[in-house]
């Protein structure tokens, strides 16, 4: 995982710190009777790398298309740098898009594709070749300048699409699952390049993906969407460590969801009991697999919750051991440092602070 940028540690909120570049105000979108976006409000800071993460049908692409101008919001407003954006046609917005399928013009060469935006927006003719070459060099595609897109591989087309979108020097770059068509290795490589490109240029990136690892690796902040609503907006570290809902906890990384009953500041879930500050009543807790530790490794801290469990399954994954634990019928997943085969009953512990109360 690439270490997140300096703006990574932020409050759990949909408002950005620093200069707000883009502001989505209470935007809703319906296609006929189908409500795709439910009153979304979101701020993106200047220079930020924000990822909209969600399953297909969560509305992330629709929100992107509203910002690009390919769709009109049913209600709400979108503002960019103090200018109302949603009433402008797409060609008047200082926003450029990298499309999922690249959408390169098949009848134009790589060079002509990249020059397109400059030509149609009336950039000075003398400037165009220089800026095109610069953009092509930036994505390492200079030598393919005279080729047609059909002659290029997926990764190369991806680079051209990126150069074409960046050559206009947009304030905001929208990326619609740009890496989803690439194979795993190329994907990793492009992730790194995208991230360093974004830092170098200082352009704000709004990135759409359904891949949580990609979102974690690239983003300053992640906006998690579910069924057209914002589930949580936070930095990757925050969203992983402090998931607000059970959906977030399960979507980002793995987790154990513990259904508990709280009475007198003590939570009880099956045979487990720990102290907590929540009010009395039913509650749901997320406990990450790596928060469960093997007792025999070392003494637990004070207040740790100790329990005995049968090991049902052990999967060696190279850097860790994945365990499936059985506590008298209650199943828990644990991830512990590599330590060779385990069997039978073992004693484990977790810290009550790692059991995060989440909304349903």
């Amino acid at each position: 995982m690439t270490p997140p940028g300096p703006s990574a540690e932020q409050a759990v909120t949909s408002s950005a710190s620093g200069n707000v570049l883009l502001e989505v105000r209470n935007v809703a979108k319906s296609f006929g009777p189908r409500e795709v976006l439910k009153h979304i409000s979101l701020e993106i800071a200047s220079g930020e790398f924000l990822t909209m993460l969600g399953e297909s049908g969560s509305g992330k692409t629709t929100l992107l298309r509203l910002i690009a101008g390919f769709e009109q919001p049913s209600s709400g407003e979108i503002w960019m740098s103090g200018e109302r954006l949603d009433t402008l046609p797409p060609y008047k917005r200082r926003v450029n898009t990298v499309f999922q399928s690249y959408a390169l013009f098949p009848h134009l060469t790589v060079q002509e594709n990249v020059a397109y935006g400059l030509q149609v927006s009336g950039a000075p003719k003398s400037e165009i070749p220089g800026r095109v070459n610069e953009a092509l060099q930036m994505v390492k595609m200079y030598e393919f300048a005279a080729s047609r897109p059909a002659k290029l591989s997926g990764g190369q087309q991806q680079r051209v699409a990126l150069a074409r979108a960046l050559v206009n020097r947009p304030k905001l770059l929208l990326l619609d699952e740009p890496l989803s068509a690439l194979d795993a290795n190329l994907r990793k490589q492009m992730q790194g390049e995208l991230k360093s490109l974004q830092r170098e240029l200082g352009i704000t990136f709004l990135f759409v993906t359904h891949d949580q690892d990609e979102a974690m690796a690239l983003s300053d902040r992640i906006a998690l969407l579910k069924d057209g609503g914002l589930e949580q907006v936070a930095s990757p570290r925050e969203i992983y460590a402090q998931p607000a809902t059970s959906y977030t906890a399960e979507f980002i990384g793995q987790t154990n969801l513990l259904r508990a009953y709280i009475k007198d500041s003590v939570a009880t879930s099956g045979s487990l009991q720990w102290s907590c500050a929540q009010p009395a009543g039913h509650a749901l807790f997320s406990l990450r697999p790596e928060s469960i530790h093997l007792l025999s490794v070392g003494p637990p801290p004070a207040g740790a919750v100790r329990f005995r469990a049968t090991i049902r399954q052990q999967i060696f994954s190279g850097s860790s051991e994945q365990l499936e634990l059985d506590l008298a019928g209650q199943l828990l997943r644990a991830r512990i440092p590599v330590r060779g085969p385990l069997s039978g009953e073992q004693e484990f512990w977790f810290s009550p602070a790692d059991a995060i109360a989440v909304r349903e």
């Binding site: 797409p90 926003v95 399928s101 959408a103 013009f105 098949p106 149609v120 206009n168």
Partner: protein
């Protein structure tokens, strides 16, 4: 694997069909074009006299050029009508697309002759158009030049061949990925620039196919001049028809046919090359 006999049995019918109904007539036509008529009988004497006549008698070239002018007119008008229609239907019509498509197709089910006669009743001196013009007092007398003029031929053939121009155009417009249009807007191009720089270039193969249809179908047409054209708009196919009929000069008719055939084939060859170059895939 299939046996030899099986292969022969299945390929014989199409081979026979092509042989008897296509290759044989062409061979006969080619042979006739090098023969001549003497004393009202076709003499099987090989010569180039028929082809020489084509260039010696100015009538043939004149009619051929007129035919090509009419064909060019029909092509141009069909494109002017067909392109906006195809563009509208592909990009703007939305849910009405299917209905409009059917409306364009329906006239193709009506016989060519019926549509020809329809124009006769519209353009004639007792026709709908003249009646209307007199009714609104634009003219006092029936206007006679509507019917029996090259104009009438162009009008009728444009009506008949516009769907043939429309169909390949519409297909090529439908095949343009919509995200290319979005990408163009996204990069700052207005609708006009998007049309000129993206949509039009990508629809060129369809445009070429449609234009070829209209031009070549008109080139071989002989009914429109008979129905609505009159003597001033005789086309090359009318000459061929009369040479094979009342004039009884099959060899000359065959020579003209072979010439038109060569013209058509070279045009097709040329447009095919262009279409390949513009396919970009």
């Amino acid at each position: 694997m299939y046996t030899r006999a099986y292969k022969w049995i299945v390929s014989a019918p199409p081979l026979l069909w092509v042989g008897i109904f296509l290759l044989l007539p062409y061979a006969l036509m080619l042979a006739h074009s090098f023969w001549l008529v003497r004393d009202g009988v076709i003499a099987h004497e090989w010569n180039l006299q028929n082809y020489a006549k084509l260039f010696q008698n100015p009538v043939y070239l004149e009619v051929l050029f007129r035919t090509m002018r009419i064909a060019a007119g029909v092509t141009l008008l069909s494109l002017l009508l067909g392109y906006p229609l195809a563009y509208y239907m592909s990009f703007q019509a939305g849910v009405r697309k299917d209905l409009l498509y059917q409306l364009v197709i329906v006239p193709l089910w009506v016989s060519y002759l019926v549509r020809g006669y329809a124009w006769k009743t519209i353009l004639g001196s007792e026709g709908v158009l003249n009646g209307f013009l007199q009714y609104i007092h634009v003219t006092k007398e029936p206007v006679s030049f509507f019917l029996y003029s090259p104009f009438a031929v162009v009008l009728m053939l444009t009506h008949i061949y516009t769907p043939f121009v429309f169909l390949p155009l519409y297909a090529s417009l439908e095949h343009i990925p919509r995200n290319l249009v979005e990408a163009s807007y996204d990069l700052g191009a207005s609708s006009r620039a998007t049309f000129l720089r993206v949509i039009l270039p990508l629809s060129l193969p369809g445009l070429l196919a449609g234009a070829t249809f209209a031009f070549l179908l008109t080139l071989g047409d002989f009914l429109a001049p008979l129905l609505v054209g009159g003597p001033s708009s005789i086309m090359i196919a009318n000459i061929v028809q009369s040479l094979f009929g009342t004039s009884y000069d099959w060899p000359l008719g065959a020579a003209i046919s072979v010439s038109i055939l060569l013209l058509t084939i070279s045009l097709l060859f040329f447009t095919e090359r262009l279409e390949k170059r513009w396919a970009f895939r």
